[in-house]
Symmetry: C2
C-alpha cells in the first residue's frame, strides 16, 4: 500500500528532522547560553547526537520504505514525488559515507577550527597549511565516495545549492566582475564620502528597541521565534521555532541593525516554509543561495532603501533624540549606504562584498582543480585582492586567514553569498515589475505585500525546485548577474556619482 508507505516515509523523515532540530538547539544554546567552562560537555553532547542522527539517516528500514515507494504500482502525487526524490538522494548520500569517514571528517573539522584560530592570531599561514591540505584531500575523497571524484568542486557546490556547477558560477562571476570592478573604483574615488562614524555612541538599549520594532514590522513572528545576543549573528531553528541572534556595538549601531534585518530575512524564509511538511523536501529551503537571497533582499533592497527610511527615520530619531541632531537625513541615508574598501569580507558593504566572494571562488576552483600548491596560496590571495579591490592585505590574518569556513571544511559555500545577492536583485526586479508601487507600502511601514509575494513564490515552494529552476520559474528568466549590477548602479550611482547620471 503506497499510502501506508508514504506515511511511513513521512514518519521516518519527521523523526530524523526532530533529531536534527534538537541538534540545532544544542548549537544555538552553545552560542547564546553555554557557561564558559561547559564547552567540553557540549562537544560530547553534539557527538552523541551526531551518532544518533547518523543511525537514523542510514536506517535500513528507511531504505526499504524508499524502495517500496519507488516500485509501487500506484502513481505518486507531485508532492510525494518531490519528497521521495530528495529522501532518496539524502539516504544514498548518507549510506555512501562509511561511519569511519564521517568520524574522521568531524574530527578534522574540530581540529581544523582550533588550528585556524591559533594560526590566525599568530598570523602564521604555515601553521594552517597542513590542515587545509588535509581538508581538501578529505573532501576529494568524499566526492569520490559519492561517485563524483572527477568533479569534486561541482560536488561541493551541489551540496549547498542543488544543481549549481562550477561552470555556472564561472560564467555568472565573469560578467559581474567585468562591470563591478570599475564601478567600485569609481565609487570609492568619488569625492562624496559617507560618515557612518557620526552615528557612533548610540546606546545599546535604544538599538535593541529599534531593531525589534523593525524586525516585527517586516513580519517576523515572535510567537514562534526570538532574538538573542551572540558573538556571531546567525539564524537557527525552523518554521516551528526560529531563533535569530545579533550583537550590539555602540561604535557601529548600523551594523547591529542590518545584521538583525539580515538574520530576520533568513528567519522569514524559515517561518514561511510549510510547517506541515517540516522534515521533508517540501518543508526545506532550496539551498544556501536562495536562503541568502531572502536575507539580502530585506537587508539591502528593502532595508537600505529610501522608502524604508522615510518610514523609520522619525522613529529612529525619536529613540535616540538629540544624539542625532548633528546628523542630517541625507547623511543618515548615506551612512546606511556607505561603501568603503576593506580587506575583511564580513566588514564589507553590499557593493564590494561581491568582489570578496569572487576572490574566494577563484581560490577554491584552483585548489580543487589542482592548479595551485598550498604554499602559493597566500601570494595568490594577495594578488587577487590587488586585482579585485586594488590593494593588498597587510597580513595573512587580514588576508587568507580571515575566514573560518575552510578550517571546518566549508568549500563551495562562499559562492552562495554572491549568488544570493544576484537572486535577491532578480527577485526584486520581478517584484517591482509586478507591483510597481511596492515602495509606497514601505514608506507607510507596510511590508505585508512584499512578504506575501515572497511567501507565495519562494517560501511555500520548499525544495520543489532547484536554485536555477526556481529563479527561472519565479522571474521568467534564467539566473543572471545583470540585475545585481543594475540594482547596485541604481542605488549607488546617484549617491556617489551624481555627475555621471
Amino acid at each position: 500500500m503506497s499510502d501506508a508507505d508514504i506515511r511511513a516515509l513521512r514518519a521516518k523523515l519527521k523523526h530524523l528532522d526532530l533529531l536534527q532540530s534538537i541538534n540545532g538547539l544544542l548549537g544555538w544554546d552553545e552560542q547564546v547560553n553555554l557557561p564558559p567552562a561547559s564547552g567540553p560537555r557540549r562537544a560530547e553532547q553534539l557527538a552523541a547526537m551526531a551518532a544518533v542522527i547518523h543511525e537514523a539517516q542510514v536506517d535500513p528500514e528507511l531504505g526499504r520504505v524508499l524502495e517500496q515507494l519507488e516500485n509501487a504500482d500506484v502513481p505518486l502525487s507531485e508532492d510525494e514525488r518531490v519528497i521521495l526524490q530528495w529522501a532518496r538522494r539524502d539516504y544514498d548520500h548518507a549510506r555512501r559515507l562509511p561511519e569511519a569517514f564521517v568520524r574522521r571528517k568531524a574530527a578534522l573539522e574540530s581540529e581544523g577550527f582550533h588550528v585556524w584560530r591559533e594560526a590566525r592570531s599568530a598570523n602564521d599561514f604555515g601553521r594552517f597549511a597542513p590542515v587545509l591540505e588535509q581538508q581538501i584531500a578529505l573532501l576529494k575523497e568524499e566526492a569520490a565516495l559519492q561517485g563524483m571524484g572527477d568533479r569534486p568542486y561541482d560536488y561541493l557546490l551541489d551540496q549547498f545549492d542543488p544543481g549549481l556547477t562550477e561552470a555556472d558560477v564561472e560564467t555568472l562571476f565573469a560578467v559581474l566582475k567585468a562591470d563591478l570592478v570599475p564601478f567600485v573604483r569609481a565609487v570609492v574615488d568619488s569625492p562624496v564620502k559617507a560618515h557612518p562614524e557620526k552615528l557612533r555612541g548610540l546606546p545599546v538599549e535604544g538599538q535593541n528597541r529599534f531593531l525589534r520594532e523593525v524586525v516585527e514590522a517586516i513580519g517576523f513572528d515572535f510567537a514562534r521565534g526570538r532574538i538573542d545576543v551572540a558573538v556571531h549573528p546567525f539564524c537557527s531553528g525552523d518554521a516551528a521555532d526560529t531563533r535569530l541572534t545579533t550583537r550590539f556595538s555602540e561604535e557601529e549601531p548600523l551594523s547591529s541593525l542590518f545584521g538583525a534585518i539580515h538574520e530576520a530575512g533568513h528567519g522569514l524564509y524559515e517561518q514561511g516554509l510549510p510547517v506541515e511538511h517540516l522534515g521533508t523536501a517540501l518543508g526545506e529551503a532550496v539551498g544556501m543561495a536562495v536562503h541568502e537571497s531572502q536575507s539580502r533582499i530585506w537587508e539591502n533592497q528593502v532595508g537600505r532603501g529610501r522608502a524604508f527610511w522615510q518610514h523609520f527615520e522619525p522613529r529612529f530619531r525619536e529613540i535616540f533624540g538629540e544624539r542625532l541632531d548633528a546628523v542630517s537625513s541625507e547623511e543618515l541615508f548615506l551612512a546606511v549606504n556607505a561603501v568603503a574598501l576593506t580587506p575583511i569580507r564580513v566588514e564589507a558593504d553590499e557593493v564590494t562584498y561581491n568582489l570578496h566572494i569572487i576572490l574566494r571562488f577563484e581560490m577554491e576552483r584552483r585548489l580543487f582543480g589542482g592548479d595551485v600548491k598550498i604554499d602559493e596560496l597566500p601570494g595568490l590571495w594577495n594578488a587577487l585582492t590587488r586585482e579585485l579591490l586594488g590593494f593588498e592585505p597587510a597580513s595573512d590574518a587580514e588576508g587568507i586567514l580571515q575566514d573560518v569556513h575552510w578550517s571546518c571544511g566549508l568549500f563551495g559555500y562562499f559562492p552562495s553569498y554572491c549568488i544570493g545577492n544576484m537572486v535577491a536583485a532578480q527577485l526584486w526586479k520581478a517584484i517591482r515589475s509586478q507591483m510597481p508601487d511596492i515602495e509606497a507600502d514601505f514608506a507607510r511601514g507596510d511590508f505585508s505585500r512584499m512578504l506575501g509575494w515572497l511567501r507565495e513564490h519562494v517560501h511555500r515552494q520548499g525544495r520543489r525546485y532547484r536554485t536555477k529552476e526556481l529563479v527561472q520559474k519565479v522571474t521568467g528568466e534564467a539566473l543572471s548577474p545583470v540585475h545585481l549590477i543594475d540594482y547596485l548602479k541604481e542605488r549607488y550611482a546617484p549617491l556617489y556619482l551624481p555627475e555621471a547620471r
Copy 2:
C-alpha cells in the same frame, strides 16, 4: 577481559547520560526560552528523544556487557561494583516495562497535566477524578510489572529514594507530627508577628544583583552554570552545566531570594558530583530526599540564620537604600523567618511546610493501600488539613487540586521534601558538632568550610550509599525526625515564644 568490559559499560552509560542531558536541556529551554507558539514542536522533540533514550536504555548490547561483568573471574573494585549494581538495576527496570506501556504512561502524564490545569481553574475535582484514578491504576500496573505488585507504594518511594519504605516514612512522620502540630499552633498563636509585607516593592534589578552575589558567595560556580528567569524555580543540568531558575516579584522579594538559594543548594550538589563519573551511579545523586536536604540546608539552616544576615544585611541595605529605612534589623530577621498558616504548600514556610507533606503522605498511602475511594478524597484532604493545620481550605483549587504532581503520576515523591528537611537538620547537627564555630565563618561571608564538608561527605559520594545508609554513615546515627524538631524549636522558639524559654 573485565577491563575492556568496564570501559564498554562506562561508554554505554555515558552515551545514555548524554542523551538524557540533552533531554534535560530541552526541558530547561522550554521553561526559559520557548516562544509561546512553539510548544507542540517541543512536545514532538521530547517524544523523539524519549524514544531514542528508551532504545539506549534497553539496548541488548548493554545487557551483554552487564552479564559479562557479573560473570567475570577478575574481582571488581569497590567503585566498579557500585557502578555495575546500579546499571543492572536501571537496565532491568527499563527492560521490564514494555514499550507500549511506556508510551501509555507518557500519554497519560501529558493528558493528566492538561486535565488537572482545567480542573483546578474550574475548581472541579470531578473533572480531575477519572485521570487520577487512571494514574493510580497505571502505577499499580507498573509496580506489578516490576515484581512489586503487592507493595506498590514501596515501589514508588524506592524510585525517588532508594531503600525508603512506607513503614520508614510512617514512623518518621508519626514522631514529627506529634511534636510539630502543637509547636505550629503555639507559634501562630504568638503575639509576635512577622511583617514580610514591609519589604514589598523592592526593585527587581536590586533583587537580581543581591541574589547573584549570595549564590556566588555560597559557592555556586558560574563558569559551569547560570541563573535565568522562569515561571517555576528549578535546577536542571548536571555537574558540567548546571542551570538554576528563579522568578522575581516586587511583592515578595524574599521569595525570589530564598527560591534562588534553594535552587543553588540543588546546584551545588550537582556541581559537587564527580564529573568524571557522570552517567554512572558514582556521578549521580542518592535520591530526591538527599537532593532536597542540600537545597534546604542552604536555604534554611544557613540562609535564614543570624550569622548569614550579620554578613549580608549591610549589603542588602546598601542595594535597596532608603526603602529599608523603616525596617529594623530585628524586623528584617523576623520577616526572613516568618511563620504563617496557608492552605498552599508552595507558599508555606519551613515550619508548617512539613505538615503539608504529612497530609499528602496520608493521602497517598491510603490511595495505594486501597482504603479510600476517589470521590472521598476531597473530604479526606479537608479533614486532614483541619487536623494538621487547624482549618479547612476554602475550595478544592486551594486544597486537593493545588499541586501538579499527581496529575503527572508523581506519587511517592512528596515525602522526599519532608525527609529532605530531616536529613538537612541531621547533617546540620553533625556539621555543628564537628565545626562548632562554623557560623562565625558565615558571619564573615565565608561558606567554604561548609561547602567543603558537604562536598566531602555528601556530594563526592554519588550514589555509593542509599538514603538511610548515607545518613547513618555521615552523621553516625540512623535517620531521625528529632533533629528537625530540635532545629525548628531552636530557631523559632526564641523568635515567637520568648516566654517559653
